[in-house]
C-alpha cells in the first residue's frame, strides 16, 4: 500500500461523518450567534458553552454505545414498549450524570470567574440554566438515540456506526437550542421575581 492509497481510503471513510456533524455544528452556531442578548444578560454563560456541549456528546454518545453493544450481545430487545429494566436504568443514569455534570460545570465556572474577578451572573441563574438545559436536551437526545439505534438495528444496520455521527450532529444542535430555551425561561423567571 502506498501513502497515496492509504490517504485516499482514510479520506473517503471520514468525509461523510465529518459532513454530517458539520451541518449540526453550523446550525448550533447560528443559534449561539442569535443569543447575543442572553449572553450579555448572563455573564459567564459563554464560558459554560463548550462544557455543556461536550457533556451532551460524552453522556449520550456513551448511552448510544452502551445500547448498541447490548443489542449485539442480545441483552436487550430493540423495542421501547414494555419498558426493559436495563434500558430504563441506562437512560436514567445518562440523565442523572448529565444533570450532575452540568451543575458541576456551572459551579466551577462561577467559582473560577469569581476568584479571577471576572464579571459573572449569580450562581442560581447559572445553575438553573445549566440544569434546565441539561434536562430538556437530555430528554430529547435520549429519545433520539434510543429510537434511532433501535430503528437502525431492526433494519439490519450496525448501530455502532450510527451512534457517533448521530450524537455529534444532534448533540450540538439540541444542546444549543435547549440552552437558548433554558436561559430565556430563567431570565423570565428572574424578571418576574
Amino acid at each position: 500500500m502506498t501513502v497515496r492509497d492509504a490517504a485516499r481510503d482514510a479520506y473517503r471513510e471520514a468525509l461523510p461523518a465529518l459532513a454530517a456533524s458539520l451541518v449540526g455544528g453550523l446550525f448550533a452556531g447560528v443559534v449561539l450567534s442569535g443569543m447575543r442578548a442572553e449572553l450579555r444578560a448572563v455573564p459567564g454563560l459563554l464560558v459554560l458553552v463548550p462544557a455543556l456541549l461536550a457533556t451532551r456528546g460524552n453522556v449520550y454518545g456513551s448511552l448510544g454505545a452502551r445500547i448498541s453493544t447490548a443489542l449485539h450481545q442480545g441483552l436487550i430487545e430493540p423495542r421501547i414498549r414494555g419498558g426493559d429494566e436495563r434500558l430504563r436504568a441506562a437512560v436514567a443514569a445518562a440523565l442523572a450524570n448529565g444533570l450532575l455534570v452540568s451543575s458541576f460545570a456551572a459551579i466551577a465556572a462561577f467559582a473560577i470567574l469569581t476568584v479571577f474577578g471576572g464579571s459573572v451572573a449569580p450562581l442560581p441563574v447559572l445553575v438553573a440554566t445549566a440544569l434546565l438545559s441539561g434536562l430538556l436536551s437530555g430528554i430529547a437526545l435520549a429519545g433520539v438515540v434510543v429510537t434511532a439505534v433501535f430503528a437502525g438495528y431492526r433494519r439490519g444496520r450496525d448501530p455502532d456506526t450510527l451512534v457517533g455521527p448521530l450524537v455529534t450532529t444532534t448533540g450540538d444542535l439540541f444542546g444549543m437550542l435547549f440552552l437558548l430555551v433554558a436561559v430565556r425561561l430563567v431570565l423570565f423567571v428572574v424578571g418576574v421575581i
Binding site: 500500500m1 501513502v3 497515496r4 492509497d5 492509504a6 490517504a7 485516499r8 481510503d9 482514510a10 479520506y11 471513510e13 471520514a14 468525509l15 461523518a17 465529518l18 459532513a19 456533524s21 458539520l22 449540526g24 455544528g25 453550523l26 446550525f27 448550533a28 452556531g29 447560528v30 449561539l32 450567534s33 442569535g34 447575543r36 449572553l39 459567564g44 459563554l46 464560558v47 459554560l48 458553552v49 463548550p50 462544557a51 461536550a54 457533556t55 460524552n58 453522556v59 452502551r66 441483552l75 436495563r86 436504568a89 441506562a90 436514567a92 443514569a93 442523572a96 450524570n97 450532575l100 455534570v101 458541576f104 460545570a105 466551577a108 465556572a109 473560577i112 455529534t168 450540538d172 444549543m176
Partner: protein, 185 residues
Amino acid sequence: MATDWTVRAITRAMLPVLLVLTMVEIGSGLVLGSFEAQLLQYPTLLALVPVTIGTAGNLGSILAARLSTAFHLGTLSFDPRDENLAGNAVATLALAVSIFPVVGGGAWGLTAIVSGVQLAPGTVVAISLISGIALAILAITVTVAVTYVAYQFQLDPDDVVIPVVTNTCDVLGIVVLFATVQLVL
C-alpha cells in the same frame, strides 16, 4: 469489563471521567470568555465556535480511531516512512482543507441571513481555513504523540487515546480560533 446496568454502577464508571473532561472544557470556555467582546461584536465568529470545536474534535477522534485499529492489527509502526501513518496524516490535512472553507462559507451565509453582514465572506473563509490547517497539524501531532505514549505504557489505545484526543482538540479548536481571529482582524 462489563458494567452492571444499574444507575449506580453506570454513574460510578462514568462520572469521574466526565468531571475531569468538564474541567478541561471549562478551560476552553475561559479562552472563549477572554474574547467575548469580539465574538459579540461579530456574530459570524460566534457561529464558527461550535462547528470549529466539533470538526477539530472529529478530525482528531477519526485519526485516533484509525491509528488504534491499525495498532491492534499490527499494521502500524511509529516511523515517519510508515505508509499507513503518513497516509492517515495526509488524509487528515486534506480533510481539513476541504471541510473548513465550507465551515467558513456556511457560517457566513447562515449568519448573514439571521443577523446581517459584518465581515466580508473572504475574511470568514480565511479565518476558518487558516484555523483548520493549524488544527489539522496539531491534531496529527497530538494523536500520534498520545497513541505513541499509550503504546509505550502498553495501554489499550481505544480506552485512552480517543477521549484524550477529542477533548484536547476541542480546547485547541478554541485556542487556534482565538489566535487566528487576532491575526486576521
